[in-house]
């Protein structure tokens, strides 16, 4: 199941979000350190980058920090971009990597045991309004589970790719995803039981 407008990892099946094609001249200027070219890149990719960051972190402040971190890194590393992959796909991967690095840096979420991860995040009860709010529902998942769910279900990453990103096994990714979906199903089912 992949609901992203940018379903192909290469990012060229549509022309929005990360799939936008960027002119070679803009890239060349950016590679020469032209800040105006970076402003153009931000104008094109700032929104998809922020959207992905927000889906992965579930927090606007963290998403803003992430976008800032990604674009600062882009300014520093764009010279190493050789055009092997579409620019959008490269930037998307950079954003996902930055989000996962942020999760890793946060010691609270280092726990690799899915059982423990879901147990620690299980205490929060959603109210009716939250259950109708998609973003709030995702917030109820442990951060790693949310990231796995977003990457797999919305961004089209495979379990192998997610496992590589997290430095875990594929079965870890599958387990986290299954539990995350189960948690969401249970959450949306609760009000029906109440009424």
């Amino acid at each position: 199941m992949n609901r992203s407008a940018n379903s192909d990892m290469s990012g060229l099946d549509t022309f929005s979000g990360f799939a936008q094609i960027i002119e070679a001249s803009v890239l060349a200027r950016a590679q020469r350190g032209d800040m105006q070219a970076f402003a153009t890149l931000y104008a094109r990719f700032g929104q998809p980058c922020y959207g992905l960051a927000l889906r992965l972190t579930g927090n606007t402040a963290q998403a803003e920090d992430l976008v800032q971190e990604v674009f600062l890194k882009l300014i520093e590393t764009i010279r190493s971009y050789r055009g092997d992959a579409p620019f959008g796909a490269w930037l998307k991967r950079m954003t996902a990597n930055a989000a996962i690095d942020q999760l890793r840096r946060n010691k609270r979420f280092v726990d690799a045991d899915p059982e423990a991860m879901f147990a620690s995040a299980g205490a929060v009860e959603a109210n009716s309004a939250q259950k109708l709010d998609a973003a709030a529902l995702l917030q109820r998942l442990p951060p790693r589970a949310r990231a796995v769910l977003v990457l797999h279900e919305l961004e089209g990453y495979t379990h192998a790719e997610i496992a590589k990103l997290f430095g875990q096994s594929e079965s870890y990714s599958k387990s986290i995803l299954a539990r995350g979906l189960q948690r969401l199903h249970a959450t949306v089912a609760e009000p029906q039981a109440e009424t």
């Binding site: 199941m1 609901r3 959207g51 674009f71 949306v188 089912a189």
Partner: protein, 164 residues
């Protein structure tokens, strides 16, 4: 997105669809903040480079100062061999100009200094043949320089006297 009469799995799918379709906009000033952060980083990097360069210069100056402090003497070491050879050339030129006998082994008996000079030459020759260490050669070259200095001084005195 509605949950009424829908199975949880359908609701979750709808939620994910909703999240996937959403295009949240970043704050309008985010790029300005990124540019500002980049400016700060660049300035810091330049400062770090300057500081590193400055520290390198200070370390270099310190190393040079330390080396000169630990050097055996404040003046550079004298190359006695070169000095002796230069003095010999000077003496030869003087003797040639004034038609004075050359200080060679052939006439060393005429002057005690030239006799000692010949003796030093023999010892130097022997030292080189036996491949003696430099530490044994240096005192000989030094003594040779001193003798040549004395000879030059004597010749100068003699010349002065002649002129008077």
């Amino acid at each position: 997105m509605t949950r009424t009469n829908a199975k949880p799995i359908e609701v979750v799918n709808a939620i994910l669809q909703h999240i996937g379709d959403a295009q949240p906009q970043p704050p309008t000033d985010l790029w300005t903040r990124i540019e500002a952060a980049h400016g700060v980083r660049s300035r810091r990097r330049r400062l770090r480079r300057l500081a590193a360069g400055g520290m390198f210069c200070v370390a270099l100056a310190g190393a040079v100062a330390l080396r000169s402090l630990h050097a055996p003497s404040a003046t550079p070491e004298i190359d006695w061999q070169a000095r002796a050879q230069a003095l010999e050339l000077q003496l030869l030129a003087m003797q040639h100009e004034n038609h004075v006998a050359v200080a060679t082994a052939a006439n060393f008996d005429a002057d005690p200094a030239t006799g000692e000079l010949a003796e030093i030459d023999r010892r130097l020759q022997a030292a080189y043949e036996h491949q003696n260490p430099v530490s044994q050669l240096v005192p000989l070259w030094k003594r040779r320089s001193e003798l040549l200095d004395a000879l030059i001084a004597a010749r100068r005195e003699g010349l002065t006297l002649t002129r008077i």
